[in-house]
């Protein structure tokens, strides 16, 4: 800080001295005293000889002097008109004893000399650029040469310039700028090595402030009208690169490579790609090559975007291959290159290929593969930045193309595997979301296998996964579950193969995951099964038609099984033919497996529901009695062994009843076995109300309606092995009686507990419910259910209700009223049948 204040003070004094000398200089000029003017100008310029100022402050001083030099130049120009030749002046200023002021004056006069046409531009410039070697101090030299560069602008013998021809040609102009550039660069690099090592960082910062002085030369070269590609590639670029490489300075190399890339036209880069790339491996290991490569690739990509013909040229020159090669060479040479740099390079390459050849998927894969190889052995080293870059790299292909296409990139998952668990998972989620967002169907076995490789961290556990709570897992697995629905193959056979593959992967996960994914998997299976059935139906009807036509039923069936629905691609059909063919039985067996595994999770309710659904499908769609029975059996076992919660039991039982009621495949024996189990389950429920309701429900098992006709538009499924609907009035009545008994028991129980208040009248709604069941059966025409029986019950219920009228809650009351209204309606609709009813 103190040093800083000192420097500030110094600058103030120096600036004051500049002002003073400038004043005397101007005064001498007014008096037309050349000698004095020169003397004071040299004194003024002498202030620039300081070593005390940081580049920033030196620049301030320089600018001040620079402005004053403008006056001096004007005066010199004037001198010429007074008969003093610029040649004389040019010599005169060289008499100055100090080298720095002398050289500034030389530059000032020299440039006037060129402008006045007195001397060959190239001669003077050559002289100036040579003489300025006298200043070897980095900061002073840089500013002096910057002044030279700036003043000589427009005076170069550039093609088309008035200074060309006699005064030299474009080669001289290029030579001049290049020489000046090289000298400046040397000074700039040298700065780093002067002073104490502990100030290294500060120096680096200061150097950065000066970089544009050096870069200006390159800008001017690039702005030369006469700079043709031949000149650039033949002379400028090799010399530039030679200098860049040989200076062995990170900062300089970094900046200059960028300057070259940004400074010269795209077309030049395109045509001289080899030269440019071949310089890269030779740079220092600390140079951020990825940034350099990235700029180059981005530039070319932009160029290609602006001019379609460039794409062809890039192809022709194998730009992509060259980039790949160059990166791997760089990585090889700089064995210790940080992972983040490496990944950034590949990310840039990915951007390039995605920008230039969006259609070339193999390029994407190559980039991934190369990156993976590059990182092999060292991984990311836990570098968060590297990881971020890698995620960016991996996300790129996802952004522009659908997930299935990306799934064909076999280099993707191993690269993904390098990510940390958490990031890996994020990436996997991204893959899933992309798939879902795009609604992509994953339709081949290979893709599915790949997909699971991609999302492995979502499916499998890892040791360090302990920070996941239930909710996180659910959220995550729901995504996976959703994704399962995207796995759709053109043929059912293939579909099952896919699902099997998916299951094999899912199985690796913990039960906590399976709970969420298996149901989805199973329902995918069911969907497939339905398609299978539908397909078979069609084939059978088609085969029948064929058989009629060709009388070759035997072969036709086989053919038909093979011939997939018209929409299915031939490849998928071939896959089916190759052994993936599946029948309903095996599919259901598979589903059974899935369900049982789900039960072990344990997720008994889900498993139970799933079993029931499968049972129904087995029964009603496949017509496989044994399998359907098996499903029920398993469901019942689950009910008995695994469903403990009474509420769950109630729900489960209802589900069982509902499903069984709709199954028509069972023979009487099997059905009885199932029904009896249900009846006994119902009796064993804890609460009276539940017992009652279950009994009512179970009663329905004895009375099936004929299966509903298929709705319009759906394929009517003709199920083989369907039994006629069960009609057993006795059992119905027995069930209802049991229900009534339970209500009675409930009533007694209430009385025994003698609980007053409204809460006690639990049995009342049950009465109403039973009434409604009675009415249902009456309407269905169950033999034992006569109007008289119903009326009897109605009276009983009526009296019960009036007895407990005070306890009646609003719900039950309105239920009862609705029931009464219903009865009125029935009477109105069919007075003959319901005449005896009186609510």
């Amino acid at each position: 800080m103190e040093q800083d204040a000192e420097a500030a003070q110094f600058l103030k004094e120096a600036s004051l001295s500049v002002k003073k000398n400038a004043y005397f200089m101007r005064k001498a000029m007014d008096e037309d005293n050349l000698r004095e003017a020169l003397r004071y100008s040299a004194a003024m310029l002498g202030e620039l000889r300081t070593s005390f100022l940081s580049p920033q402050r030196y620049y301030e001083l320089y600018m001040q002097v620079f402005d004053e030099l403008g006056n001096l130049e004007a005066y010199f120009a004037d001198e010429q008109s007074k008969g003093r030749t610029l040649a004389e002046l040019y010599e005169l200023v060289q008499h100055a004893g100090n080298v720095l002021p002398r050289l500034y004056l030389m530059v000032a006069v020299g440039c006037l000399y060129i402008k006045a046409g007195g001397a060959r531009s190239s001669d003077i410039l050559k002289d100036l650029v040579e003489m300025t070697k006298g200043v070897q101090h980095p900061t002073r030299g840089l500013f002096l040469r910057a002044y030279l560069c700036q003043r000589s602008r427009g005076l170069l013998p550039d093609t088309g310039s008035p200074y060309a021809g006699e005064g030299g040609d474009i080669h001289d102009a290029v030579d001049f700028l290049l020489t000046n550039f090289m000298e400046m660069n040397k000074l700039w690099v040298r700065m780093q090595h002067q002073g104490a090592p502990r100030d290294r960082e500060r120096r680096e910062k200061e150097r950065q402030q000066l970089q544009d002085l050096v870069g200006k030369n390159l800008t001017y070269i690039s702005q030369l009208d006469g700079l043709t590609f031949e000149l650039y590639a033949g002379s400028v670029l090799p010399r530039l690169l030679e200098q860049v490489v040989s200076c062995k300075d990170e900062l300089a190399q970094q900046y200059l490579m960028q300057a070259v890339i940004q400074g010269f036209p795209d077309a030049f880069h395109l045509a001289s790609l080899d030269a440019l790339l071949s310089a890269l491996p030779e740079l220092q290991s600390g140079v951020k090559l990825h940034a350099v490569m990235a700029s180059l690739m981005d530039r070319l990509a932009r160029y290609a975007a602006s001019d379609p013909s460039v794409v062809g040229q890039l192809l022709e020159r194998h730009a992509f291959e060259k980039f790949v090669e160059s990166i791997s060479k760089v990585a090889e040479l700089h064995g210790d290159i940080p992972a983040v740099s490496l990944v950034e390079m590949y990310a840039a390459l990915m951007r390039f290929t995605e920008g230039v050849h969006p259609d070339k998927l193999e390029n994407v894969n190559r980039v991934l593969g190369a990156c993976q190889r590059g990182l092999a052995g060292k991984g990311l080293g836990g570098d968060a930045k590297a990881e971020k870059q890698l995620v960016a790299l991996l996300s790129m292909p996802l952004g522009s193309r659908d997930a299935v296409t990306v799934l064909s990139l076999d280099q993707y998952p191993p690269l993904m595997g390098l990510l940390s668990r958490r990031t890996h998972k994020d990436m996997a989620l991204k893959v899933v979301t992309t798939t879902l967002a795009q609604g992509t169907c994953v339709s081949s076995l290979e893709s599915v296998e790949m997909l699971f490789k991609f999302i492995a961290p979502l499916v499998q556990e890892a040791e360090d996964d302990d920070d996941m709570d239930e909710e996180d897992i659910e959220e995550e697995q729901v995504m996976v579950a959703r994704m399962l629905h995207q796995l759709t193959a053109p043929t059912p056979g293939l579909q099952f193969a896919i699902l099997r593959a998916a299951r094999a992967h899912l199985e690796l996960g913990s039960p906590a995951r399976l709970k969420h994914t298996y149901p989805a998997l199973a329902f995918c299976g069911l969907k497939a099964l339905r398609r299978l059935n539908a397909a078979q139906q069609q084939q059978q009807s088609g085969a029948a038609a064929d058989a009629d036509a060709s009388a070759d039923a035997n072969g036709a069936e086989k053919d038909a099984e093979r011939a997939a629905p018209a929409a299915a691609p031939a490849a998928a059909a071939a896959a089916d033919a190759a052994g993936d063919a599946v029948d309903a039985e095996s599919a259901l067996q598979w589903l059974l497996d899935v369900a049982l595994q789900l039960a072990e999770v344990p997720a008994p309710m889900q498993a139970l529901r799933l079993l029931l659904v499968c049972a129904h499908v087995a029964s009603e769609e496949a017509g496989l009695e044994m399998l359907a029975y098996e499903f029920f059996e398993q469901a019942f076992t689950l009910y008995e062994e695994s469903v403990a919660d009474s509420r769950h039991k109630v729900t489960a039982l209802q589900a069982i009843v509902g499903t069984l009621h709709r199954c028509y495949v069972f023979s009487a024996d099997n059905r009885d076995a199932l029904t009896q189990s249900v009846t006994s389950y119902a009796a064993k429920l804890l609460k009276r109300a539940d017992q009652c309701r279950a009994a009512c429900a179970a009663s329905h098992l004895a009375w099936q309606e004929p299966p509903a006709a298929a709705a319009d538009g759906e394929v009517a499924v003709a199920v083989p092995g369907r039994q006629p609907p069960v009609r057993d009035a006795q059992k119905v009545m027995a069930g209802l009686k049991r229900a009534l008994k339970v209500v009675a028991a409930a009533k007694q129980q209430r009385a025994a507990t003698a609980r007053g208040g409204k809460g006690g009248a639990q049995h009342l709604p049950l009465y109403v419910e039973i009434v409604n069941h009675y009415l249902y059966y009456l309407a269905r025409g169950v033999e034992s259910m006569s109007v008289g029986v119903v009326q009897q019950l109605l009276e009983l219920v009526g009296s019960e209700l009036s007895q407990y009228d005070a306890d009646l809650d609003a719900e039950t009351r309105s239920y009862w009223q609705a029931t009464q209204r219903h009865i009125q309606c029935l009477k109105a609709a069919d007075p003959d049948k319901y005449a005896g009813l009186n609510a």
Binding site: L86, A87, Q94, G97, A119, I124, E130, K133, Q136, K186
Partner: protein, 330 residues
């Protein structure tokens, strides 16, 4: 005032010497010569074997009649050493009688012409630290009562032009301090004329010390006496910075030193066995601790004839001398 009151007897007359050219006009060739304290004086300039002509004018300062025993003019060439001050050695001494004895007033009636033809003035006029070589006309009036006032010295300057010496090889030299600093330097010539430009280059072959700057000095060494009694006196005529900052190995630094701004003379060897003047280019490197490393190299300076035709050519603007020498060096 004293003179007017006649209280002190002053000089009876004033003596003026006018140099004339062959046609009787005022002599125009002059040389500006720097004196000791920086003041300059303009003196008539001659060359060996020139004719020195002119006239002496006597202006009486008193109306009193003053007799003299004769007026004469001497042309003297003297070498004066600081060590033997007051007793200059005359190497030329010519005398012309201007007027026979008579009175001052009559001598003052018209200018008294004089003429020295084909004078041998082989040595250049020179003003050094401890030696000078000078030429003068001494007009003296002798007679009773004539003091120093009646003697008048009119100095003039002599410059001789040398035939350009034979081409000598450029000076090239590698010097250094082991493991510390190795440089190679070259000056394009060993012999320069006074308006010449020294063009050269310094190559840094090894730099292990932190240099601050580098300069070229022009040093003049006067030697008087000979043998064991020889005495040297050196003087730095010019300091010309040629490098600012610290170079690294492999750098080369150009030198271009114009000699014209400096007060130089040709190198003189054994002037009348009295003294020699030699010139050196001294390359000085200064490091950050202000230690000086130097290497001195003698150069021979000579005066080139100012050929008028040549002079005109030089003024042609198309070829600056600097560039000519620069391109020839590269």
């Amino acid at each position: 005032m004293k003179n007017i009151l006649g209280l002190v007897q002053g000089a009876p007359c004033r003596i003026d010497v006018d140099f004339k050219d062959e046609k009787g006009h005022r002599y125009k060739k002059t040389a500006v010569v720097k004196g000791k304290n920086g003041e300059t004086e303009e003196l008539p300039l001659f060359t060996n074997h020139d004719a020195i002509v002119g006239e002496v004018r006597i202006t009486p300062l008193t109306t009193k009649r003053v007799e003299h025993t004769g007026i004469k003019v001497q042309l003297l060439g003297q070498i004066e050493l600081a060590s033997e001050r007051g007793s200059p050695h005359d190497f030329v001494s010519l005398v012309r009688e201007l007027a026979p004895p008579g009175d001052v007033a009559s001598a003052a009636q018209k200018p008294l012409p004089f003429e020295f033809r084909n004078v041998e003035m082989q040595y250049d006029s020179y003003r050094g630290l401890q030696v000078r070589c000078r030429y003068l006309l001494r007009v003296s009036m002798t007679g009773k009562g004539m003091g120093s006032d009646t003697k008048k010295d009119a100095p003039f300057w002599v410059r001789n032009y040398d035939v350009p010496p034979d081409e000598a090889p450029p000076i090239k030299m590698e010097v250094g301090i082991e493991e510390c600093l190795h440089i190679e330097f070259e000056y394009d010539k060993a012999r320069y004329h006074l308006k010449d430009v020294v063009v050269g280059k310094i190559y840094f072959l090894l730099v292990r010390i932190k240099l601050k700057h580098m300069e070229v000095e022009i040093r003049r060494r006067e030697t008087t006496g000979a043998g064991s009694s020889a005495h040297n006196e050196s003087e730095t005529i010019a300091k010309y910075e040629i490098m600012d900052g610290a170079p690294v190995r492999g750098e080369n630094i150009p030198i271009r030193l114009y000699l014209s701004p400096y007060d130089l003379t040709p190198s003189y060897r054994d002037v009348h066995n009295k003294f020699s003047v030699r010139y050196f280019l001294n390359l000085v490197l200064v490091d950050e601790e202000d230690r000086r490393y130097f290497k001195q190299q003698e150069i021979l300076l000579y005066r080139k004839a100012d050929d008028p035709t040549q002079q005109q050519q030089q003024q042609q603007p198309q070829a600056p001398p600097s560039l000519g020498s620069s391109s020839s060096s590269s």
